[in-house]
């Protein structure tokens, strides 16, 4: 099975953020929220592939290009950041369930922290492709102003609200605080669709807000993965049995029930990485 992808560009964005551009020469085309498993060494250290979400899918004539936005966080991504144009990468995928972007979802609110913007940007662009004039609102931020990145790019697709934990830029607080602030002051419409990607604690708090304010939402989860295709069972994500969400796109083939049938684990690589915000058992996930 051919799985080499030629590197068209590997660009340093800012700080430790990079963007790599690849031609999508293998089918199927990825959808926002899906991920690829990229080999990030030629030897055995690091050993396992690294999962990266699709950041952008671009059409160029009859062919497609894909961008992966990534943060250098360890040996694997360090190796990746040094690959040059003309080289190639060993990639498997796309894997997993993507975000469900439906006609009636308007406005769309994207909530991210740091590199979490990577798959959400794809949601924004896809949503605009599907319905011109759809309103995209982006809540993005990080610890302090020096760590903010991708602000200008985000302004191209939507209205941006910045936050920093220390208040050095934008709203003083974290993403859920900002969302709560906007909701309490009725600065967001009553009905909207939330899409989120970021740390577990942020997602959990967004889930709490979704219950309190009654908005719908989808989250992209991440965990260490062994394989990415459902064989190793490493990326178990606990779900609330009564809230499991399946539909034409989310089949959830890898659910594992306890003997008593009162607990259920999904696999992020097969049943996720995108979930309904209400179905994840956040307390079990964060414990």
């Amino acid at each position: 099975m051919e799985r080499r992808y030629e590197i068209l560009r590997n660009q340093h964005i800012s700080q430790n953020y990079f963007k790599i551009t690849l031609p999508v020469t293998h089918s199927p085309l990825p959808i926002p929220g899906q991920f690829y498993q990229v080999r990030c060494s030629v030897g055995t250290d690091p050993l396992l592939r690294r999962p990266f979400s699709v950041h952008r899918l671009l059409q160029k004539g009859s062919s497609h290009l894909m961008e992966i936005l990534y943060r250098v966080a360890g040996k694997g991504t360090e190796w990746l950041s040094k690959r040059e144009k003309g080289g190639s990468l060993d990639i498997l995928g796309p894997f997993g369930n993507g975000f469900l972007i439906q006609e009636g979802m308007d406005p769309i609110v994207l909530v991210s922290r740091g590199i979490g913007i990577a798959p959400l940007y794809a949601v924004g662009e896809e949503a605009l492709k599907g319905k011109k004039g759809r309103k995209i609102i982006i809540l993005m931020g990080t610890r302090l102003r020096e760590r903010i990145f991708y602000e200008e790019e985000c302004k191209k697709i939507g209205e941006v609200y910045l936050y920093t934990d220390d208040g050095s830029r934008g709203f003083h607080g974290r993403a859920p605080d900002l969302l709560c602030h906007l909701l309490e002051r009725k600065r967001l419409p009553e009905r909207f669709s939330l899409f989120a990607c970021g740390p577990a604690q942020m997602l959990k708090e967004l889930a709490d807000l979704s219950e309190r304010f009654g908005f719908e939402g989808q989250v992209a989860m991440e965990d260490r993965m062994g394989c990415g295709f459902g064989a190793c069972l490493s990326c178990a994500c606990p779900l609330k049995p009564e809230k499991i969400t399946t539909n034409f796109q989310w089949k959830k083939p890898a659910l594992q029930w306890s003997e008593e049938g009162d607990q259920v684990y999904s696999l992020i690589c097969k049943d996720g990485p995108v979930y309904d915000v209400k179905e994840v058992d956040w307390n079990e996930w964060i414990a």
Binding site: L47, G228, A231, C232, A236, C237, Q256, E259
Partner: protein
């Protein structure tokens, strides 16, 4: 030399056309790899461990990476033997590849019960016994570290089935050889060496285990290969039944180390995640090596280590 080298081997009543197969726990229930590999080309498929009842498995955050290895605790997550037979086994009806089921349980009686169910299934050709499971009647100590428990377990299972019976032994003992000898005495058809040694990795910033609440996990991947090769070499001089070598194999060169040390067959584990075609490449590589060294049969290579 004429014709292709002969890679076949006998494992109990089972004849495998080649000695390369996946390690239990890294190949799901088998079907997960159909998108990458023609399963019929493998020596056998070995499933993940199946237990009497469904198992939820370990807490989330089950895997972390260590130098040239993976540290993981899956905690025997599986659908249980009944659902395995109902939902997963039918897939193999359309395939010819020998099917070996890894089984695990918490009591000798439960191991026997699972084995009885497996014995009734024609499509299942063999059993690999996972003895790295906690024995609830002995305070949770693993079956694999108690010689008398192993004797009782293998004796009971041998009486329960004529299917190929392989025992996968744990390296978490001072010496594996007495365990291997007992397995042979009690009628095992083969021994798999080695199951994953237990390890730990700590995030020094949070002072928590990298495996969260699970704390420890099994170390697999190239990091354990020299340990595994040495155990194969030691045990191969102690028993005559075939040894299936496993631990950090990434290709034919690694596999040949195990074979020369004394393994009759090899299992590839963690590296399937990195390269899902590794099994087929390894098989081809062994064939090429044999042709290059004018070796006609696998037998000529097994335990051919020069120690003078």
């Amino acid at each position: 030399m004429s014709g292709l080298p002969d890679l076949s081997l006998k494992l109990g009543r089972l004849v495998l056309k080649n000695p390369v197969m996946p390690a239990s726990g890294t190949f799901g229930y088998g079907q997960e790899y159909e998108q990458f590999v023609d399963l019929n080309q493998l020596g056998a498929v070995i499933t993940k461990t199946i237990t009497p009842k469904p198992h939820l498995g370990s807490f989330p955050h089950r895997l972390t990476e260590v130098p040239s290895g993976s540290l993981a605790t899956i905690g025997l997550q599986n659908v249980g033997i009944d659902r395995f037979i109902e939902d997963k086994l039918p897939y193999f009806e359309g395939l010819q590849v020998p099917l070996i089921i890894s089984i695990g349980a918490e009591t000798v009686e439960d191991y026997v019960d699972v084995t009885k169910k497996v014995d009734l299934q024609k499509r299942i050709n063999g059993i690999e016994l996972n003895v790295s499971c906690p024995n609830v009647k002995k305070g949770g100590i693993h079956f694999g570290v108690d010689l008398e428990v192993i004797r009782e377990l293998v004796t009971c299972l041998r009486q329960t089935t004529d299917k190929t019976l392989i025992i996968k032994l744990s390296p978490m003992v001072a010496d594996i050889r007495p365990f291997a000898e007992i397995c042979q005495q009690c009628g095992a058809d083969g021994i798999t060496l080695i199951n994953a040694p237990v390890g730990m990795a700590i995030d020094i910033e949070t002072r928590r285990s990298r495996l969260g609440r699970n704390i420890t996990g099994g170390l697999t991947g190239p990091a354990i290969r020299p340990l595994a090769v040495r155990w194969v070499w030691w045990v191969a001089r102690t028993v005559d039944i075939p040894i299936l070598g496993v631990g950090g194999i990434t290709g034919a060169e690694d596999a040949l180390e195990f074979i020369i040390a004394g393994a009759s067959a090899v299992e590839i584990g963690t590296y399937n995640f990195v390269d899902p075609e590794a099994l087929l490449k390894t098989m081809e590589g062994i064939r090429t090596y044999m042709a290059r060294h004018h070796v006609r049969t696998l037998k000529e290579l097994i335990k051919s280590l020069e120690v003078s």
